[in-house]
């Protein structure tokens, strides 16, 4: 079995970059402030190095200028207006709630910061989101939710096509809100995600903050090459999922990305073996269960090292 170490996406900013952002943007980013590209490049390059030094084989750009977590994507689309702060899932983190004021359209690159990272290192994973953006924003424009979701889907699809033509080989779609999806939404979601995953690049669905049992087995038809499950917060339920259904390729979120406690490698190994024992996976990624920016940077680094240690003992 071939196991690859990866991360979910976000990473703590270097301290100097934090200071820089605070200086040019204040405490809250104003939409018209543009980060100096050279400075951004230096920061991304530092984080790419850090991931690779820790043994991460498939890194991300660290989402260093994502001020509103996944909702940053909304801030880069036409039609959204960013509003007052609201809690991001059950974290002590707050994002500006996007409100739809007009038709959602993509008029410029969404992941322009990924382009900077891609120039430095090509085996990198791009991260986008679609359904979760619609769920965590407030719709004041569309009469029907379906229309909102479809416009969102089209915008994301356009960006994915761009990434594909650029040569980005791995595209991850983060959908933590899928955990709360209702069963009667799954038909529409299948159509949406089939559209999104219709690309040559490898597509990875990432779920976290709990188990994804309620979207099985339907999610298997969404067209993703790899399905990512949270085995920290939804361990028991997701374990049942892999036992019951035939998931050909998996991202195992196994290291706790939301607590500074460093797990024992042997405990993780035991867990890993239980997860993979039931299936014959084609592709296996191991990662923290969430982005790492919930942690202080020294701990984020230790968590990646831990993942590499785990990989060392399971092969």
């Amino acid at each position: 079995m071939n196991v690859t170490t990866t991360v979910v996406g976000s990473y703590p900013r270097p301290e100097w970059f934090r200071d820089y952002l605070r200086k040019v943007e204040g405490l809250q980013k104003e939409l018209n402030v543009k980060v100096d590209e050279e400075i951004m490049k230096k920061a991304i390059s530092e984080i790419l190095d850090e991931q690779r030094r820790a043994g991460i084989e498939l890194p991300t750009d660290g989402q260093l200028i994502w001020h509103d977590f996944l909702l940053t994507i909304a801030s880069r689309l036409d039609g959204f207006e960013m509003n007052g702060l609201i809690r991001y899932f059950d974290n002590n983190l707050y994002y500006r709630i996007p409100i739809t004021r007009a038709k959602i359209k993509r008029s410029a690159e969404i992941l322009y910061d990924l382009d900077v990272a891609f120039e430095i290192y090509r085996d990198i994973k791009a991260v986008l989101s679609c359904y979760t953006i619609t769920k965590l924003s407030k719709n004041m424009f569309y009469k029907k939710y379906d229309e909102f979701l479809w416009d969102m889907c089209r915008a994301i699809r356009e960006e994915i096509k761009r990434l594909e033509s650029m040569g980005v080989k791995y595209i991850q779609i983060d959908e933590p809100s899928l955990i709360y999806a209702k069963r009667d939404e799954l038909g529409l979601l299948e159509e949406i995600f089939k559209e999104i995953t219709r690309v040559k690049s490898e597509t990875i669905l990432m779920t976290y903050f709990g188990s994804a049992e309620n979207i099985f087995p339907e999610v298997l038809d969404f067209g993703f090459d790899v399905i990512g499950l949270d085995f920290v917060e939804g361990y028991e339920e997701n374990l049942n999922v892999v036992r019951e259904y035939d998931i050909h390729s998996i991202n195992i979120g196994i290291v706790d990305g939301r607590n500074t406690k460093i797990e024992k490698v042997n405990d993780l190994k035991e867990k890993f073996e239980k997860i993979v024992s039931s299936d014959n996976f084609k592709i296996v990624y191991i990662s923290p269960n969430t982005g790492l920016e919930f942690l202080p940077r020294v701990k984020a680094y230790e968590k990646m090292e831990l993942l590499t240690k785990l990989r060392g003992v399971i092969i």
Binding site: P12, R13, R18, L21, R22, E25, G26, L27, Q28, K29, H67, L85, R87, D90, N92, L93, Y94, Y95, R96, N259, T260, K261, E293, F294, L295, P296, R297, V298, K299
Partner: protein, 319 residues
């Protein structure tokens, strides 16, 4: 009907300069101490001139509300900062061993404040539920064990506070409305914190959906709950009405997120709305939250307007 504050007040610019110099090792501890004491005096004077009845020291020593206490309690370790929103960060502590009382947390601040003012004093301190919620837990198997252990630590501090003459303690618990499913744990924690404490107990709650914590919050063992109302244009007063609110009310009626100073008239209108819900002697008029993020002159003006409005209402109602 009394006027009060939630706690923090903008730090004087010179204090920030001195803090920087201290951080760079350019000045020694005794000079820093002197600066802290002088800054408290200046904050207190501002409160006195504005005419606030029940005051605190402006929290000149606190950088923020979790790690300040975590650094002074055994069992916490701080590895670094994490983001809360935008470009705002805080040092998020980790619980790495048994939480135990080590040293005084606010007693010395209280004693110093008492020595420089004749006003009534309230002592605000971040509550056990919020400190644990905003920390990592590496040690306790269950979250509530950590919360209760910390509540015991704070109880010991409160006993010490009362012993030296404090009679009004405020638990700052902004994390409570963010986990309505854990209200029972938060309530138990309050009971542990106030056990045997002969003082007036307030609890400050800001942000979040208040409706989600009603009516259970009314069973908490506190004399007063302090809510922010101005931030949501006083819509939440309806919730109090719906549930026959009967505790004393900390009435946040000054928006701390806006630099626009309220008019006396609009604050008076708000106070009168509150008087439809509680009796005048149950009402504590204050800003929504700490004032520390405002420019100092605006914070001062806001306090002045608040006091003036309260006095005018008192006069109109012959109180």
């Amino acid at each position: 009907m009394k006027t009060t504050v939630v706690g923090s007040y903008p730090k004087p610019k010179w204090l920030l300069e001195i803090l920087n110099m201290y951080g760079e090792g350019k000045i020694d501890k005794s000079l820093m101490e002197e600066a802290y004491m002088d800054s408290v005096k200046s904050a207190v004077k501002d409160h006195e001139i504005a005419g606030v009845d029940i005051i605190w020291d402006g929290e000149m020593r606190r950088e923020e509300m979790v790690s300040y206490f975590a650094e002074r309690i055994d069992g916490f370790k701080i590895y670094g900062e994490v983001r809360v929103w935008g470009n705002a960060y805080y040092p998020k502590p980790s619980i790495v061993s048994e939480l135990e009382y080590r040293e005084k947390l606010v007693i010395d601040d209280f004693l110093y404040l008492k020595s420089i003012t004749d006003r009534n004093i309230k002592v605000p301190i971040t509550g056990a539920y919020t400190i644990v919620d905003w920390s990592f837990n590496e040690y306790y198997l269950k979250r509530e064990e950590a919360i209760y252990a910390l509540a015991e630590v704070l109880n010991r501090e409160f006993r010490g506070l009362v012993r030296v003459g404090a009679n009004y303690i405020q638990l700052d618990e902004p994390a409570i409305p963010t986990h309505p499913e854990e209200l029972e744990i938060a309530k138990n924690a309050v009971e542990i914190m106030v056990k045997g404490i002969r003082a007036y107990i307030g609890m400050h709650i800001c942000y979040g959906d208040y409706r989600a914590i009603f009516p259970d919050i009314l069973d908490f063992k506190v004399d007063q709950i302090d809510f922010e109302f101005a931030n949501r244009k006083f819509e939440d007063l309806k919730i109090l009405e719906d549930y026959d609110y009967d505790k004393d009310l900390g009435f946040g009626c000054i928006d701390v997120h806006s630099k626009t100073v309220e008019s006396v008239e609009e604050v008076k209108r708000a106070i009168k709305m509150a008087l439809d819900i509680v009796e005048p002697d149950q009402l504590y008029v204050d800003p929504d939250c700490g004032l520390k993020l405002l420019p100092r002159n605006i914070a001062f003006e806001k306090l002045r307007v608040m006091v003036k409005a309260t006095n005018e209402v008192k006069k109109e109602f012959d109180l």
